[in-house]
Every structure is written in C-alpha cells, then in structure tokens.
C-alpha cells in the first residue's frame, strides 16, 4: 500500500466500513507512515469527542420537574428581598426617629409622616415595600 491508496481508504477506516483484511493492511501501512498515522489519530480523537455528546432517549419526557412545571424561581428571590427589606426597616426604625419632611425620600422614617393614621403593622409593611421597590430598581422618591 502507498500513501495514495491509504488516503483512498481513510474515510472507510474512520467510518468503520473497511473489511477486516483492508483494515489490517491500512494499519500496517500507518506503522510505516508516522505523519499519516498522526493525522489519523487526530481524526479518531475528534470522532471520539463528538461521540461524547449524548441525547435523552425519550422526547416526551421532560428532563426535570422544572422542565415540566416551568416553575419560576424569581418568586424565591423576591420573597427573600421582601424579608430582607422587612428586617432592615425594623432595625432602622428603632434607631432613626425624626419629623417627616417633604424632601425626596432617603431613609425609612421619611416614608411615613408622624401623623399618619397607619397601624404599626401597616407602617412596617409599607416601609418594607418601599425598600423592596428600591432593590428592584424602580426607585423611591415619592412620599407615601
């Protein structure tokens, strides 16, 4: 076998379609042609790499529960932000006291006027909401 013949058989060799006899002849030739042997080895590694990509066997079955329900995870983050906002407002409310002003909002105490008829729970709820909106980037600036 020579290089031209080997090149003719290359596709069949890589594609697994050589007869056993031709396969032996081809491999025997590779032992005498290190350059071609290196090229064949690279192509074989490429094919092995391609074959690493698998596919699920069943089209109908979703891979995970989230695939099936499409359950959004945004609500988890939103709930955590809300809880954090409540905690921050609770702590801030005990340390920051002062008269409300009509200036742009910059602290929790400015969100609610002292003479607002809110109950305590409603007050903290609105403070927490305001912080949550700020965290979401919608911004504050309007007094409640």
């Amino acid at each position: 076998m020579n290089r031209d013949e080997a090149n003719e058989l290359m596709a069949d060799y890589l594609g697994g379609e050589l007869s056993p006899a031709d396969r032996l002849r081809f491999e025997a030739y590779l032992n005498t042609d290190p350059e071609l042997a290196g090229e064949v080895a690279g192509l074989e590694r490429t094919l092995a790499t391609l074959q690493q990509l698998d596919a699920p066997g069943n089209v109908a079955q979703p891979r995970t529960a989230a695939d099936h329900t499409g359950a959004p995870r945004w609500w988890i983050a939103a709930a955590l932000r809300y809880a954090a906002a409540v905690a921050i407002a609770f702590l801030a409310g005990y340390s920051l006291r002062g008269p409300a002003a009509e200036s742009p909002v910059s602290s929790p105490t400015r969100l609610v006027r002292n003479d607002a008829p809110d109950s305590r729970s409603t007050y903290w709820h609105r403070v927490a909401e305001a912080y949550s909106r700020r965290a979401n980037g919608s911004g504050l600036g309007r007094p409640l």
Binding site: D12, T46, T49, L50, A55, P56, V59
Partner: protein, 169 residues
Amino acid sequence: MTTTSTSTADANAAFDQHREEVYAWAYRILGRHHDALDVVQDVCLRWLRNRPAGGADSPRGWLRRVTMNRAVDLIRSRKSAPRALSSASELSARAQGDALETMELRATIAAALDRLSEMQRSVLIAKVYDGLTFAEIAADHQLAVPTVKTHYLRAVSATRDRLRAESRL
C-alpha cells in the same frame, strides 16, 4: 377540505416517525430540552410547509439537514444575546443537569458545525450519531458515495481543527 386535512394528517404522521430522531439531533448540539423541543416544533412546521416530494433528499435526509440548520441558527442567535441573558441560560442549563464542561464542549462543537457546509454537517451527523453507512447517506441525499466520503473527511478535519483551536483536543 377533507383532502387537505388528510394530507396534513399524513404529513404529521410521517413527521412523527422521525420526531425522536429530530429531537436527538437537536439535543446533541443544543444540550437543552426546551431548546431541542423548540427546534422540533420549528422543523415540524417547515416539514408541513416544505416537505420533500420526490426531491433530492429522502425525508430523513431532509429532516436531518433542516434540523441541524435550525440548531446552528439557534446557537448563533444565542451568541448574540446580551451577556446577562446568556448567563441566565447557562445557569438554567446547569440546573437541567448539563455539566459545565459538557456545555462548553457542545458550544465548541456547535461552533465547528456552524463552519461546515450544510451537506458536510448532515453527513457528519448521520455517520457519527445515526451510524449510517456511506451508501445509506448517499441514498438519503441523492449523492455519489465518493462525494459523501469527501464531505465526511472534510467535516471531521474541520471539526478537529476547531477543537484544537479551542484546546479541546
């Protein structure tokens, strides 16, 4: 009306015979269930509109070629998505069980396939994943067997070069 309904039903039934294959072809490149389903739906619609009727491709050959084109298109459109969106997609893929390394491998292979001609891509997929012989692939696409072998070698060589460039080989 009845004839149209019957022919659409027949076309749907014909597509259903290959649905699993279409999904598998798409999934191997995309690595995500929902993306693969999107491609299946897209290909199905194209099948209903433009399916081959005695043309150059067999039904399977046509579907393989179109599926790979759509999967590569989806990869391209994903590349041009804003970085934040890509990150969210990556997180989603990881959550769906695709390891980061496999994701990266898929992306590299998809990029390599993107550089192949349509026929090189189809021949490579048919040989590597479907296990078809060169003669079967030639029949799928109405090509001569030597032409199929040439497409195959060029496709494997180009993919090797891309994997080497990405240090994945």
